[in-house]
Amino acid sequence: MALPVSLHASTTPQELEFIAGYDMIEIMPSVRTDRIRVLSGTYGPLDALRTTKVPVWMALHLKARKKCRIVSPAWLSVDYLQDRLAEETSDKAFSLLPFRYAEIAKLLLDSAAEDIESADKIRLILKDIHEARQAKSREGLHQINDVNLRVRNICALELNDIRPSFVKSMDILIKLSPQAQQSHEEEDTFRDWSMGDDSYPVAADSTMETEW
């Protein structure tokens, strides 16, 4: 098959990590080079001891060859993450973190831990944050309906995590919804309903936007 079954339901964490590799990060190079022109943009010039913004993948590539030191992003610090963890446990809503925080944190902690202050402590806090948020996102399943669910401040990896169960649940609700029943009865006259026309039979109840 063109696409392995494991890739059908959702994107994989590895794929999300790959995408997060294009996020920008600051580095302190230890070599001097001209501007670097690649397909995703032009970066540099690298100059020793002058911070430069490059994509994460490039930073890790240079890091692996000991050509730079990575400047830890402001949010990847004990203080900042501790505050977020406090919010996660006291507040019902998700706290504000970069959309791809989990992937970037993993990439940096895996390959450039020495450049990150108190990396071990950060790992522990990140794990707690992840667990607190995971519990919340699962809680969100209670609010699902057949038309619309707004998710706030959710991150890419969490979205990926909840996708299979949320999509499946909504799908079942759609099949059970009054519109679906109605359209089934109209099958004879309006068989192509599912393909062309975008008008819907209006249902009596209207569960509206749920926010969490």
């Binding site: 063109a2 294009y22 001209d34 995703s40 490039m58 900042y80 619309n148 706030r152």
Partner: protein, 219 residues
């Protein structure tokens, strides 16, 4: 620090997210992965990238075989090569998910001219050959041994079910509003506003026009 949803991925590649071919390719790939039906083939984008990859490949091999290339240049060459490999991975991933859908919905695509316009020429040829092979296989293994009346592969039964697999356009998808969007009509008759940067779980048919116009992307 501001990480509100509205900045989602805006910080990828700095600011010119719309102009950046890799950013566009990632979006096209992920949209294609999550959308239940086949989206329009990004012909200009893929052609452009293939052309650039080809040109860069020539430059890289010329520089690598040149003995006067300095060490600094070698470092830049390895970066350029890594970037090229990453771009190739993205293109392959994009083509693979399209192929998957093309094979899954081959009969439906060949039946509908509107769907066929979403395919590149090579993809259309693939769909035709795939469907032909499938039909030949069914005939050779089973159908030829059965009465003529059972030979059809495109029948619709009285209860409305069809032998042709169609995309389920009611499939729920996670939608991210890239720009302020016009209000969308929900299937229950209500209207909602997709604020810029917000993420919703909606039925695909609710947002398919916004997706085609690039106002939203799937996440």
């Amino acid at each position: 620090m501001d990480f509100s949803d509205s900045t989602l991925d805006d910080h990828l590649f700095g600011i010119d997210t719309d102009e950046n071919p890799i950013a566009r390719l990632i979006r096209a790939w992920i949209d294609e992965r999550h959308a239940p039906d086949l989206l329009v083939f990004q012909a200009a984008l893929i052609d452009d990238l293939m052309q650039k990859l080809h040109e860069q490949g020539l430059v890289v091999s010329a520089l690598q075989s040149d003995e006067s290339t300095t060490e600094e240049e070698h470092l830049r060459i390895t970066l350029v090569k890594t970037d090229m490999e990453r771009a190739k991975f993205l293109i392959r991933s994009y083509m693979r998910v399209r192929l998957h859908k093309i094979e899954k919905y081959a009969a439906f695509i060949l039946q509908t001219t509107e769907e066929q316009q979403k395919l590149s020429n090579a993809e259309l040829v693939h769909a035709q050959r795939y469907q032909q092979m499938l039909a030949n296989h069914f005939h050779a293994t089973v159908l030829d041994a059965l009465p003529e009346s059972t030979h059809a592969l495109d029948q619709t039964f009285p209860d409305g079910t069809s032998m042709i697999t169609r995309p389920d356009r009611d499939h729920p998808v996670f939608v991210h509003a890239r720009v302020p969007c016009p209000d969308v009509l929900l299937p229950d008759g209500d209207k909602i506003t997709l604020e810029q940067g917000s993420i919703h779980l909606l039925r695909y048919r609710t947002i398919d026009t916004l997706l085609a116009r690039g106002q939203v992307n799937l996440v």
